[in-house]
Symmetry: C2
Subunit: 325 residues, 2 copies
């Protein structure tokens, strides 16, 4: 921890990536990862330049044992100005745990709140209707007492495998609800990889036009290999915050005809290499990218879905050294 | 063969995809595929709507045994107006074999000619300098006697792992050479996946501005997962011809630090689903996409790299039935 470099000033990076391996990535892993391994990994994420890390979830340990170490994990993470550790919270009880940790000085400093764009997915994923979840979110925001940076995530914003197309006006109404209760960071999630560059661009432009005070975040899944092309469209539409996970792990399993489906997040190694090869500064130390990717594969003891880890960094990348070297 | 549908009229599709599984896909496969399996597969490609199929290579059977059945294979393929079977030719001897088959009425009707953008790659891949290869190409064009549609491919057009950046002016000069000897179809190849949307867009725009009489073709490899995002940039720059291969197989192996590298072509299943989900008509029958992809996996007896085959077609695709149903 003593070797950590100072976090980058905001203006040395063009985009802000959130590394989701430790939470979204691990949520559906059958094996438990030791807390110490998670801590070391998150230390490496921060050391290589990530200023946003999805660290854990204050979920019910009986339901998701992987995150039963939430408080213990957060206690061991290095604290640094400008570095945000996100914890997902499903209900008021979760927020109360985050508050308790915060009182002791080691809690998360970002909390994510989730709403589904469709009732069918809301019932399946959150076991609440949308109306019930909005009530739940309002109670969570009250319980959080302005102690955290709040991230409002609208899942299935680009379409739902159960209900099909989602009305953009409904997504905008959800965004407005978040803003009204003080949630300024709005994540539009392509939860099962049905978005296209067209729909990505259109929805983010609409969001930013309607709510210029919002900070737009893209959380896309690479279900159909469209992660990079949709993030490119988001970037061109003005989005600067993107979620990703090493090895493209994690995601939301939805049973489809052809097997369980590839459900992963957009792969960090491929995304960083992609942005940097265009001269878009990520603030991430490329020199550590493949080593950390390899470490993630070692931890999960299987080959993950990074292309760059197999093929090497783009040798024609114009940015050869990280901004903070 | 009697069940084949009539080929689509050109105006019922927005893009023309060339299916490269049978040649670029198989070239580096260690196992020999039976001619009958290749024939059945190519029949399925044509039946599902492909009007361009890279079928085989008139290469030296001692060097590449996989294509020792070139003439035998071509003899068995269904003939249909508007369907092009491409064969790669490395030298005058290859063109003479194509001519001999043509005299008998069963040859390829497209021949591809390859030049490398850099001398280092030219020597490694073609065992000739660029100058020597241009002389070779001139002799091949003469030998072809205007019998075939000629495809001029410039490999490493977007950069070379050996020589680094490639001067666009040199690529334009190569394109001009092709046009001067009567080769109107110009393929720019991202042979090892170093292109970006920026460089893709810039080079294709330059090509089309400088040579409006040329038909631009994109042949990209998905080495770093950038196939779809670069094809999107190409499409936006006006390119309408794209190469792909089922399962993303094939490609040009270049040894890199991290293993042999993922070298595959842009995956057909993912590309078709991607284009169609944006309403870009490919002319390919989506209903057959996953079955044929599964068949390709069965033939090679391993899991290939299609995401869509794992996850299913995009359920939000606006085009639910093929144009020629």
């Amino acid at each position: 921890m003593t070797t950590l470099r100072p976090a980058l000033a905001a203006d040395t990076r063009d985009v802000v990536l959130c590394e989701c391996f430790a939470r979204d990535g691990l949520q559906h892993e059958p094996g438990m990862m030791a807390t110490q391994n998670k801590v070391s990994l998150i230390e490496r994420f921060v050391d290589m330049g990530f200023v946003r890390v999805e660290a854990t979830s204050y979920s019910n340990p009986k339901v998701i044992p992987q995150f039963s170490d939430a408080s213990d994990l957060l206690k061991q993470l290095p604290r640094q100005p400008g570095v945000f550790y996100k914890a997902t919270c499903a209900n008021v009880r979760a927020v109360e745990r985050a508050m308790a940790d915060d009182v002791h000085g080691y809690g998360a400093n970002e909390i994510s709140l989730l709403v589904s764009a469709t009732d069918t997915h809301s019932l399946k994923n959150l076991v609440r209707t949308r109306d019930e979840q909005w009530l739940n979110i309002a109670n969570m925001v009250t319980a959080a007492q302005n102690k955290f940076r709040l991230i409002g995530t609208i899942s299935m914003a680009f379409g739902c495998p159960f209900e099909g197309a989602v009305n953009p006006a409904s997504v905008m109404a959800d965004a407005e609800k978040f803003l009204r209760i003080g949630v300024r960071h709005i994540t539009l999630a392509d939860t099962t990889g049905t978005a296209t560059p067209k729909s990505t661009s259109a929805l983010f432009k609409q969001l930013q036009r309607a709510f210029p005070e919002a900070c737009a975040i893209a959380h896309f899944h690479d279900t159909r290999g469209t992660g990079l092309v949709n993030y490119m469209a988001g970037f061109e539409a003005g989005v600067r915050y993107f979620d990703c996970a090493f090895g493209g792990v994690g995601g939301h399993p939805v049973k489809v005809k052809y097997g369980q489906g590839h459900t992963g997040n957009v792969c960090t190694e491929d995304l960083v290499d992609f942005f940097e090869s265009m001269g878009v500064k990520t603030g991430i130390d490329r020199a550590q990218l493949l080593d950390v990717g390899q470490h993630c594969e070692d931890l999960l003891a299987r080959e993950l879905s990074s292309r760059v880890l197999r093929s090497g960094l783009n040798p024609l990348c114009p940015v050869t050294s990280p901004a903070h070297s």
